[in-house]
Symmetry: C2
Subunit: 257 residues, 2 copies
C-alpha cells in the first residue's frame, strides 16, 4: 500500500487566530493529527492552539506523542524512536497525518527531526510543510517594538550557546533574538549591563497567549524564575530607517565640509 | 474627534491561504485598507494576497499608497510624507485603517516607518500589529530544507551590507538568510565558492506564489538577472540535531580515551 502523506503544520505562536487559513483547513480535514507534548501529564501548547478549530463533525484521530524536554540521549532516543514509529504506523496504513507544531515547523521545531528521520528512511514519502508565524515574529509585536528594518541585521541564537557567542553577535548585529534564556538569564543581564545594552533589551514569555508576560526592565528578573519558553530581544536601534540613515549621512558630510 | 485605530496587518509571503485567521477577519471587516505599492503602474503583492479574501458585501475603501523602490531621499521623503498624510486623514476622520504588508509587519517591512512616524506624532494613537508568516520562514519550506534546529544559530542579513559582513556571518552562524541578493549575486557566488559553501546554498524568489522560482545550483545565476525580492539561504548543516550532536560528542570522547 502507498504511504500516506506527512504534513508538518505550523500553528503559530499561541493565539488560536494566528494560525493560517491553510493550517486551519488541514486541522479540520486530516484523518490523523499528531500532537507533540513533553510528557503525558503536561498540556500541549500546539493542542491548545488547534483545539478551537477542530471540526466536531469530522472523525479524526489525535495521536499524542511524547518528546521529553531533556538533552539526555538515554531518555531522548527511545522516546523519539517510539514517536517516529507511531507516525510510521499511520503512514503505512496509507493515511495522511499532520504533525502540528507551535510556531513554524522549520525554525527550532521538533518537526525537523521527524522530517529528517522519515525522509531518510522513506525517500519516496510525500511531505508538505505549512509555514507558521514564529515567536521570533510574535515577540517584537506584543512588545510593540519593530525588529529590523531594511538596513538592519538580525541574529537568532539559542541562549544555550553561551555568553561569548552572544557578546560577538551584539557587536555585528542590530537586533538579537535569544531563545530559551532561562538557563543564562543572570549572566546575560550582567553582560548587557557591561555592553551598555540593558535598556535596549526586553523579555517575553508565552507571547500572544493568555499567560503572556513582558518584562521591559531585565533587572526585575534577577533572582526570579524564567520559564523555558522565554525569549530576550535586544534592539540596538543605532540606525533606524532609510531616511534617518540619510540624515546622519548629511550631518557627517557637514562635518567634513 | 478621537483618532481611528491603526492596524499593521502581515499577510504572509504570497499564497493567499497563508494569511492568518486574524488578518483574514480584519481584511473582511475594516472600513479602510491601505495598500503599499512601488508606483501607480505596478501591481501590489500585498493586494494580490488579500484580494481573494475581500468581502464584496462589505463597503470598504482601498487606499493605494506609493512607496517608491529607491534609496534616493529626494524621491522617498516627499512620497512617504504623502503616504503618511493619507493615513492620517483617515485616522482623523475617526476611522480605523489597516495597512496590509507582505510577510510580517515588524520584519523588513515598510510598515515599520509608518508605525514609528505616526507613533511619534500621535503618542495617543492606538496601534495593533498582526504578525504574519515571513519569507524567512516560507523560503526554507518551499525548498524543503529545515532552517535551524535547537542547536543552531541563524543570521538574517540584507545583502546590501556587502560581502565582508556575509563572510563574517558564515563563520559564526549555522544558517544565513540573505535578503535582496540581486545586487551582489556575482560576488556572493564567488565568496561561497571560496568558503566551500556553494553547495550549501540555494536561491528562491517569490516563494509560495504562482511565480515561485527555486535555483539549487547558484552557478546557474551567473550572468542571469535576479529579481529584487530574492533570497539566498546558506545551510551549513555541520551539526544537526540533539542526537547527532551527542553522537559526535561520543566520538570525540573516544579519541581522548
Amino acid at each position: 500500500m502507498a504511504l500516506g502523506k506527512l504534513y508538518g503544520i505550523g500553528v503559530g505562536p499561541g493565539a488560536p487566530d494566528l494560525v493560517t487559513l491553510r493550517a486551519y483547513n488541514l486541522i479540520r480535514s486530516l484523518p490523523v493529527l499528531a500532537v507533540p507534548r513533553p510528557n503525558p501529564y503536561a498540556s500541549s501548547l500546539a493542542f491548545r492552539i488547534m483545539s478551537p478549530h477542530i471540526d466536531p463533525e469530522h472523525k479524526q484521530e489525535h495521536l499524542f506523542l511524547e518528546f521529553p524536554m531533556t538533552k539526555d540521549p538515554e531518555i531522548l532516543i527511545p522516546a523519539w524512536n517510539k514517536a517516529f514509529a507511531e507516525i510510521e504506523t499511520v503512514l503505512k496504513r496509507g493515511e495522511d497525518i499532520g504533525f502540528v507544531t507551535q510556531g513554524d515547523p522549520f525554525l527550532y521545531s521538533t518537526f525537523i527531526y521527524v522530517h529528517d528521520t522519515l525522509k531518510e528512511k522513506y525517500p519516496e514519502l510525500s511531505i508538505e510543510v505549512v509555514p507558521g508565524v514564529s515567536s521570533v515574529m510574535a515577540v517584537p509585536i506584543v512588545a510593540g517594538m519593530p525588529l529590523v528594518d531594511g538596513q538592519e541585521r538580525l541574529a537568532v541564537i539559542p541562549a544555550s550557546y553561551g555568553l561569548e557567542s552572544i557578546r560577538r553577535a551584539l557587536q555585528d548585529f542590530d537586533a538579537i533574538v535569544l531563545m530559551k534564556v532561562s538557563s543564562v538569564i543572570e549572566g546575560l543581564i550582567t553582560l548587557l549591563e557591561e555592553e551598555g545594552l540593558l535598556d535596549a533589551a526586553y523579555y517575553v514569555e508565552r507571547a500572544t497567549t493568555d499567560e503572556q508576560r513582558i518584562v521591559r526592565d531585565l533587572r526585575e528578573l534577577r533572582g526570579n524564575r524564567c520559564i523555558y519558553f522565554s525569549m530576550v530581544v535586544i534592539n540596538k536601534k543605532t540606525r533606524s530607517g532609510v531616511l534617518k540613515g540619510h540624515k546622519s549621512a548629511e550631518v557627517s558630510h557637514g562635518h567634513h565640509a
